[in-house]
Protein backbone atom coordinates (compact mmCIF):
# COMPACT_ATOMS: atom_id res chain seq x y z
CA UNK A 1 0.00 0.00 0.00
CA UNK A 2 2.98 2.29 -0.46
CA UNK A 3 1.46 4.16 -3.40
CA UNK A 4 -1.80 4.97 -1.63
CA UNK A 5 -2.83 7.62 0.89
CA UNK A 6 -1.83 6.36 4.31
CA UNK A 7 -4.29 5.85 7.18
CA UNK A 8 -7.34 5.85 4.91
CA UNK A 9 -7.97 2.18 4.15
CA UNK A 10 -7.71 -0.81 6.51
CA UNK A 11 -7.68 1.52 9.53
CA UNK A 12 -9.73 1.25 12.71
CA UNK A 13 -9.91 3.80 15.52
CA UNK A 14 -9.67 2.61 19.10
CA UNK A 15 -12.63 3.56 21.31
CA UNK A 16 -11.95 4.30 24.99
CA UNK A 17 -8.67 2.40 24.92
CA UNK A 18 -10.45 -0.87 24.07
CA UNK A 19 -7.70 -2.27 21.87
CA UNK A 20 -9.13 -5.82 21.80
CA UNK A 21 -12.47 -4.72 20.36
CA UNK A 22 -10.71 -2.55 17.77
CA UNK A 23 -8.46 -5.45 16.74
CA UNK A 24 -11.47 -7.76 16.45
CA UNK A 25 -13.25 -5.17 14.31
CA UNK A 26 -10.18 -4.86 12.07
CA UNK A 27 -9.91 -8.65 11.77
CA UNK A 28 -13.56 -8.95 10.81
CA UNK A 29 -13.22 -6.25 8.15
CA UNK A 30 -10.11 -7.90 6.71
CA UNK A 31 -11.65 -11.38 6.65
CA UNK A 32 -14.77 -10.14 4.94
CA UNK A 33 -12.67 -8.36 2.35
CA UNK A 34 -10.79 -11.63 1.74
CA UNK A 35 -7.38 -10.17 2.59
CA UNK A 36 -6.42 -12.64 5.32
CA UNK A 37 -7.09 -15.70 3.17
CA UNK A 38 -5.27 -14.10 0.21
CA UNK A 39 -2.19 -13.46 2.33
CA UNK A 40 -2.25 -17.02 3.69
CA UNK A 41 -2.62 -18.48 0.20
CA UNK A 42 0.16 -16.37 -1.33
CA UNK A 43 2.69 -17.44 1.27
CA UNK A 44 3.67 -20.35 -0.96
CA UNK A 45 3.28 -20.53 -4.72
CA UNK A 46 0.11 -22.23 -5.93
CA UNK A 47 0.60 -23.99 -9.26
CA UNK A 48 -1.95 -23.11 -11.96
CA UNK A 49 -3.34 -26.65 -12.04
CA UNK A 50 -3.90 -26.59 -8.26
CA UNK A 51 -5.45 -23.12 -8.56
CA UNK A 52 -7.94 -24.32 -11.17
CA UNK A 53 -8.84 -27.33 -9.02
CA UNK A 54 -9.37 -25.11 -5.98
CA UNK A 55 -11.55 -22.61 -7.89
CA UNK A 56 -13.65 -25.42 -9.30
CA UNK A 57 -14.07 -26.93 -5.85
CA UNK A 58 -15.06 -23.57 -4.34
CA UNK A 59 -17.63 -22.96 -7.06
CA UNK A 60 -19.22 -26.38 -6.56
CA UNK A 61 -19.19 -25.93 -2.78
CA UNK A 62 -20.85 -22.51 -3.11
CA UNK A 63 -23.63 -23.92 -5.30
CA UNK A 64 -24.18 -26.85 -2.97
CA UNK A 65 -24.22 -24.66 0.14
CA UNK A 66 -26.73 -22.16 -1.28
CA UNK A 67 -29.05 -24.95 -2.46
CA UNK A 68 -28.86 -26.70 0.90
CA UNK A 69 -29.54 -23.46 2.75
CA UNK A 70 -32.57 -22.85 0.50
CA UNK A 71 -33.86 -26.36 1.22
CA UNK A 72 -33.44 -25.99 4.94
CA UNK A 73 -35.12 -22.58 4.97
CA UNK A 74 -38.02 -24.01 2.93
CA UNK A 75 -38.49 -27.03 5.19
CA UNK A 76 -38.21 -25.05 8.41
CA UNK A 77 -40.68 -22.33 7.44
CA UNK A 78 -43.53 -21.60 9.85
CA UNK A 79 -46.04 -19.64 7.72
CA UNK A 80 -47.70 -22.15 5.40
CA UNK A 81 -50.88 -21.99 3.30
CA UNK A 82 -53.60 -24.37 4.43
CA UNK A 83 -53.63 -27.38 2.07
CA UNK A 84 -57.13 -28.52 3.20
CA UNK A 85 -59.05 -25.28 2.68
CA UNK A 86 -62.80 -25.62 3.42
CA UNK A 87 -63.10 -29.08 5.00
Amino acid sequence: MARHLRFVARTVMVQDGNVDAAYKHLNRVLTQDGIIETVKRKRYFEKPCRERQRKNYENCKRIYDTEMARKIAFISRTIRTDPWVGS
Binding site: L5, V8, A22
Partner: protein, 188 residues
Protein backbone atom coordinates in the same frame (compact mmCIF):
# COMPACT_ATOMS: atom_id res chain seq x y z
CA UNK B 1 -3.73 14.71 -7.55
CA UNK B 2 -3.81 14.70 -3.78
CA UNK B 3 -6.47 17.43 -3.67
CA UNK B 4 -8.51 15.59 -6.29
CA UNK B 5 -8.33 12.38 -4.22
CA UNK B 6 -9.32 14.32 -1.10
CA UNK B 7 -12.30 15.94 -2.82
CA UNK B 8 -13.45 12.58 -4.19
CA UNK B 9 -13.07 10.97 -0.77
CA UNK B 10 -14.91 13.89 0.86
CA UNK B 11 -17.86 13.69 -1.51
CA UNK B 12 -17.98 9.90 -1.18
CA UNK B 13 -17.88 10.01 2.60
CA UNK B 14 -20.59 12.70 2.84
CA UNK B 15 -22.78 10.74 0.39
CA UNK B 16 -22.30 7.54 2.35
CA UNK B 17 -23.00 9.31 5.66
CA UNK B 18 -26.24 10.76 4.27
CA UNK B 19 -27.24 7.33 2.98
CA UNK B 20 -26.47 5.67 6.31
CA UNK B 21 -28.32 8.26 8.40
CA UNK B 22 -31.47 7.70 6.32
CA UNK B 23 -31.63 4.28 7.97
CA UNK B 24 -30.98 1.98 5.00
CA UNK B 25 -29.84 -1.38 6.27
CA UNK B 26 -26.69 -2.89 4.89
CA UNK B 27 -25.79 -6.46 5.73
CA UNK B 28 -22.30 -7.26 6.89
CA UNK B 29 -21.64 -9.22 3.71
CA UNK B 30 -21.72 -6.13 1.49
CA UNK B 31 -18.40 -5.76 -0.36
CA UNK B 32 -17.22 -2.51 -1.80
CA UNK B 33 -14.29 -0.14 -1.87
CA UNK B 34 -12.33 0.19 1.32
CA UNK B 35 -13.79 3.57 2.27
CA UNK B 36 -17.28 2.55 1.19
CA UNK B 37 -17.13 -0.68 3.17
CA UNK B 38 -15.92 1.08 6.30
CA UNK B 39 -18.83 3.48 6.02
CA UNK B 40 -21.22 0.52 5.70
CA UNK B 41 -19.71 -1.29 8.67
CA UNK B 42 -20.24 1.78 10.80
CA UNK B 43 -23.87 2.20 9.80
CA UNK B 44 -24.66 -0.92 11.84
CA UNK B 45 -23.26 0.91 14.87
CA UNK B 46 -25.36 3.99 14.15
CA UNK B 47 -27.11 3.96 17.51
CA UNK B 48 -23.89 3.89 19.50
CA UNK B 49 -22.41 6.43 17.08
CA UNK B 50 -25.14 8.95 17.64
CA UNK B 51 -24.83 8.69 21.38
CA UNK B 52 -21.03 8.59 21.39
CA UNK B 53 -20.06 10.65 18.36
CA UNK B 54 -17.36 8.04 17.67
CA UNK B 55 -16.59 6.72 14.20
CA UNK B 56 -14.43 3.73 13.40
CA UNK B 57 -12.79 5.54 10.49
CA UNK B 58 -9.82 7.81 10.96
CA UNK B 59 -10.08 11.54 10.31
CA UNK B 60 -9.29 11.80 6.60
CA UNK B 61 -6.36 14.01 5.58
CA UNK B 62 -8.54 16.60 3.81
CA UNK B 63 -11.02 16.91 6.70
CA UNK B 64 -10.50 19.13 9.75
CA UNK B 65 -11.75 17.00 12.62
CA UNK B 66 -11.90 18.42 16.17
CA UNK B 67 -10.28 15.31 17.68
CA UNK B 68 -6.96 15.87 19.42
CA UNK B 69 -4.74 13.52 21.33
CA UNK B 70 -2.34 15.20 23.73
CA UNK B 71 -2.91 18.44 21.82
CA UNK B 72 -1.83 16.85 18.51
CA UNK B 73 -3.91 16.26 15.42
CA UNK B 74 -4.21 12.76 13.98
CA UNK B 75 -1.64 13.48 11.25
CA UNK B 76 0.99 14.64 13.78
CA UNK B 77 0.91 11.59 16.06
CA UNK B 78 3.96 9.32 15.99
CA UNK B 79 3.63 6.03 14.14
CA UNK B 80 4.58 2.66 15.57
CA UNK B 81 5.34 -0.02 12.99
CA UNK B 82 4.95 -3.67 13.97
CA UNK B 83 6.34 -6.15 11.47
CA UNK B 84 5.03 -9.56 12.53
CA UNK B 85 6.81 -12.19 10.44
CA UNK B 86 6.46 -15.90 11.04
CA UNK B 87 9.89 -16.11 12.71
CA UNK B 88 10.22 -12.81 14.54
CA UNK B 89 8.50 -9.51 15.43
CA UNK B 90 10.07 -6.08 14.86
CA UNK B 91 8.79 -2.90 16.47
CA UNK B 92 9.89 0.56 15.37
CA UNK B 93 8.58 3.91 16.54
CA UNK B 94 8.91 6.86 14.18
CA UNK B 95 7.55 10.40 14.32
CA UNK B 96 5.01 11.64 11.79
CA UNK B 97 7.74 12.57 9.27
CA UNK B 98 9.44 9.17 9.46
CA UNK B 99 12.45 9.82 11.68
CA UNK B 100 13.11 6.72 13.75
CA UNK B 101 12.96 7.11 17.52
CA UNK B 102 12.88 3.62 19.08
CA UNK B 103 13.62 0.23 17.58
CA UNK B 104 13.21 -3.12 19.33
CA UNK B 105 12.66 -6.68 18.28
CA UNK B 106 12.42 -10.09 19.89
CA UNK B 107 16.12 -10.62 19.16
CA UNK B 108 17.18 -7.46 20.99
CA UNK B 109 15.26 -8.69 24.04
CA UNK B 110 17.53 -11.70 24.38
CA UNK B 111 15.37 -14.35 22.72
CA UNK B 112 17.01 -16.70 20.26
CA UNK B 113 15.89 -18.81 17.30
CA UNK B 114 12.54 -20.47 17.89
CA UNK B 115 11.70 -18.45 21.01
CA UNK B 116 11.55 -15.29 18.92
CA UNK B 117 8.52 -16.60 17.03
CA UNK B 118 6.23 -16.60 20.07
CA UNK B 119 3.58 -14.13 21.25
CA UNK B 120 5.33 -13.82 24.62
CA UNK B 121 8.52 -12.56 22.98
CA UNK B 122 6.52 -10.01 20.98
CA UNK B 123 4.84 -8.84 24.18
CA UNK B 124 8.20 -8.30 25.94
CA UNK B 125 9.55 -6.44 22.92
CA UNK B 126 6.47 -4.22 22.94
CA UNK B 127 6.77 -3.51 26.67
CA UNK B 128 10.39 -2.48 26.30
CA UNK B 129 9.55 -0.33 23.27
CA UNK B 130 6.76 1.36 25.25
CA UNK B 131 9.15 2.01 28.13
CA UNK B 132 11.73 3.62 25.83
CA UNK B 133 9.00 5.65 24.12
CA UNK B 134 7.62 7.04 27.38
CA UNK B 135 11.20 7.94 28.34
CA UNK B 136 11.29 10.07 25.17
CA UNK B 137 7.98 11.70 26.05
CA UNK B 138 5.57 9.87 23.71
CA UNK B 139 2.06 9.05 24.94
CA UNK B 140 -0.39 8.62 22.03
CA UNK B 141 0.61 6.53 19.05
CA UNK B 142 -0.87 5.15 15.83
CA UNK B 143 -0.07 1.51 15.15
CA UNK B 144 0.66 -0.01 11.74
CA UNK B 145 0.74 -3.83 11.63
CA UNK B 146 2.42 -5.67 8.80
CA UNK B 147 2.32 -9.42 8.34
CA UNK B 148 0.40 -12.33 9.85
CA UNK B 149 2.70 -13.68 12.50
CA UNK B 150 2.34 -14.99 16.02
CA UNK B 151 3.20 -11.64 17.58
CA UNK B 152 0.55 -9.60 15.80
CA UNK B 153 -1.98 -9.16 18.60
CA UNK B 154 0.29 -9.67 21.59
CA UNK B 155 2.57 -6.82 20.49
CA UNK B 156 -0.34 -4.36 20.59
CA UNK B 157 -1.38 -5.76 23.99
CA UNK B 158 2.17 -5.33 25.23
CA UNK B 159 2.12 -1.67 24.19
CA UNK B 160 -0.93 -0.96 26.29
CA UNK B 161 0.64 -2.92 29.16
CA UNK B 162 3.77 -0.83 28.84
CA UNK B 163 1.77 2.37 29.20
CA UNK B 164 1.42 3.66 25.64
CA UNK B 165 -1.99 4.82 24.36
CA UNK B 166 -3.05 3.29 21.03
CA UNK B 167 -5.19 5.66 18.98
CA UNK B 168 -5.73 3.68 15.81
CA UNK B 169 -4.70 0.36 14.27
CA UNK B 170 -3.86 0.12 10.57
CA UNK B 171 -3.12 -3.04 8.67
CA UNK B 172 -0.43 -2.62 6.04
CA UNK B 173 0.13 -6.29 5.15
CA UNK B 174 1.62 -6.36 1.64
CA UNK B 175 -0.81 -7.96 -0.80
CA UNK B 176 0.78 -8.39 -4.23
CA UNK B 177 -1.53 -8.23 -7.22
CA UNK B 178 0.40 -11.23 -8.58
CA UNK B 179 3.89 -9.69 -8.52
CA UNK B 180 6.88 -11.73 -7.35
CA UNK B 181 6.59 -15.49 -7.35
CA UNK B 182 6.74 -16.86 -3.79
CA UNK B 183 8.72 -19.95 -2.83
CA UNK B 184 7.48 -23.40 -3.70
CA UNK B 185 4.92 -25.21 -1.55
CA UNK B 186 6.24 -27.22 1.34
CA UNK B 187 5.61 -30.92 1.23
CA UNK B 188 5.58 -32.38 4.75
Amino acid sequence: MFKLTCSIVNSLSTACRQASTKGTSFSRTFHGTAVGFQEVAASSKDSSEASRDFSHFPPLPGHDSPLRWGGKKFEELPILHIKATYNNTHIQLTDCEGQSLVRTSCGTEGFKNIKKSTPVAAQTAAISAAAKATAKGVTFVRVIVKGLGPGRLSAIKGLTMGGLEVVSITDNTPVPHNGCRPRKARRM
